[in-house]
């Protein structure tokens, strides 16, 4: 209940600030959107999100998955684990309508919920949501119990079963801990874009958008306002940060 009140207040304040900004000096931005300084904490005035246009997502294309593997160093590193045990930060899912034969393809990863079930069930506080909406695992205090893996409706988390070496300096990952999509938090903190979105756009597929859901002028917000975006398992009321079009 307390959390709801806070969220409503935040929304109200955000909207009021937005309206004030527009009415005081019409046509002139009062502030410039800049990268957050390194010594400043992430703020809840921002909520990072992603929009995936499944109509643009080709069934055979795995560019986003490959980009994620290369960026974060998962995939080929777990040599002793079985395929069921190997990490999957992002995967391509194919949906076939048995009645009509219509096939859809979409990338599925951590949906960065506003009220994440993985955070609810974590006994140590390792599973956490950052102020700007990114859901992460604090591997320093993760005990590897895997409750979060059971709780996640999207099967977005993986457990590392074997000792790893030669990790990427920006993406620490190790045995006995749970991991998932970080929305490329190391890139976001430097005003960058997640590797999957970058790869998708670089190849010209234009099936993925990334941006601030709280900013009505961001590309992603405009797209969502105009065309709408569905949540997977919207019935759970998790208010996911990752939205899909064309489902």
């Amino acid at each position: 209940m307390k959390q709801d009140t806070d969220m409503n207040r935040r929304r109200f304040l955000g909207q009021t600030a937005g309206v004030a900004g527009l009415t005081i000096v019409p046509g002139v931005m009062l502030y410039e959107v800049q990268a957050r300084p390194a010594d400043q904490a992430a703020s809840s005035s921002v909520r990072w999100g992603m929009l995936i246009d499944t109509r643009q997502c080709d069934t055979g294309c795995t560019d986003c998955v490959t980009a994620c593997k290369t960026e974060n160093g998962w995939g080929s590193t777990e040599t002793k684990s079985s395929p069921e045990q190997q990490a999957q930060w992002i995967r391509k899912v194919k949906l076939t309508d048995k009645q009509t034969g219509h096939v859809q393809s979409l990338p599925l990863m951590c949906q960065h919920c506003e009220t994440p079930p993985c955070v609810d069930v974590c006994p140590t506080g390792a599973s956490m949501k950052r102020a700007d909406g990114i859901v992460l695992v604090d591997k320093h205090i993760c005990i590897g119990c895997r409750y979060c893996m059971m709780a996640c409706p999207y099967k977005a988390r993986s457990f590392i079963h074997e000792p790893l070496t030669d990790q990427k300096p920006h993406a620490p990952r190790g045995v006995g801990t749970v991991e998932s999509c970080t929305l490329c938090v190391h890139r976001i903190d430097k005003d960058g874009t997640p590797a999957c979105v970058e790869a998708c756009n670089a190849e010209g597929h234009k099936a993925m958008y990334f941006g601030n859901l709280n900013d009505p002028d961001s590309d992603i917000s405009k797209h969502l306002k105009q065309h709408g975006g569905e949540q997977i398992r919207a019935d759970l009321g998790l208010n996911t940060g990752v939205r899909y079009q064309g489902l």
């Binding site: 957050r36 904490a41 992430a42 070496t165 030669d166 990790q167 990427k168 045995v175 903190d189």
Partner: protein
């Protein structure tokens, strides 16, 4: 007699030196060989770093992961970039190398186990492990 005394004195000294020599060389072997850092000056003085480095990186890890504060001063990534700098062939030591890796050389000596590098990279980006440094792997 005087001659004898002089002779004895020399003999005792010689014996002493010969006894001491193996001891000193053993002691030297036991001391950690700390690889030299790339930079000129660390973020704090050596005595502060020796006593408090664990506190600095513990504080930084919470700030970075939970709040997104990525100041370079106490960043583990920066420690590694400076203290495990590549040689001319772009090769660096692996954490399992008890002699060559900055962290493990000292931590082996003081018998304090660290698990930082079960997850964190023990080498800077775009470097290769030295083939002789991966003992036990």
């Amino acid at each position: 007699m005087v001659f004898f005394c002089k002779y004895m004195h020399k003999l005792v000294t010689l014996a002493g030196v010969s006894l001491l020599l193996p001891l000193t060389s053993q002691a030297v072997d036991l001391m950690p060989v700390i690889p030299k850092a790339k930079g000129q000056q660390c973020v704090e003085s050596t005595d502060k770093m020796r006593r408090n480095h664990m506190e600095y990186i513990l504080h930084q890890r919470n700030d970075t992961l939970r709040k997104g504060i990525r100041t370079p001063k106490y960043s583990l990534k920066k420690c590694i970039e400076c203290h495990n700098a590549p040689d001319k062939d772009n090769r660096v030591a692996h954490i399992s190398s008890k002699q060559d890796h900055f962290c493990s050389s000292c931590h082996t000596y003081v018998a304090v186990k660290i698990d930082c590098f079960e997850c964190h990279a023990d080498k800077p980006k775009k470097t290769q492990y030295h083939p002789t440094s991966r003992e036990g792997h």
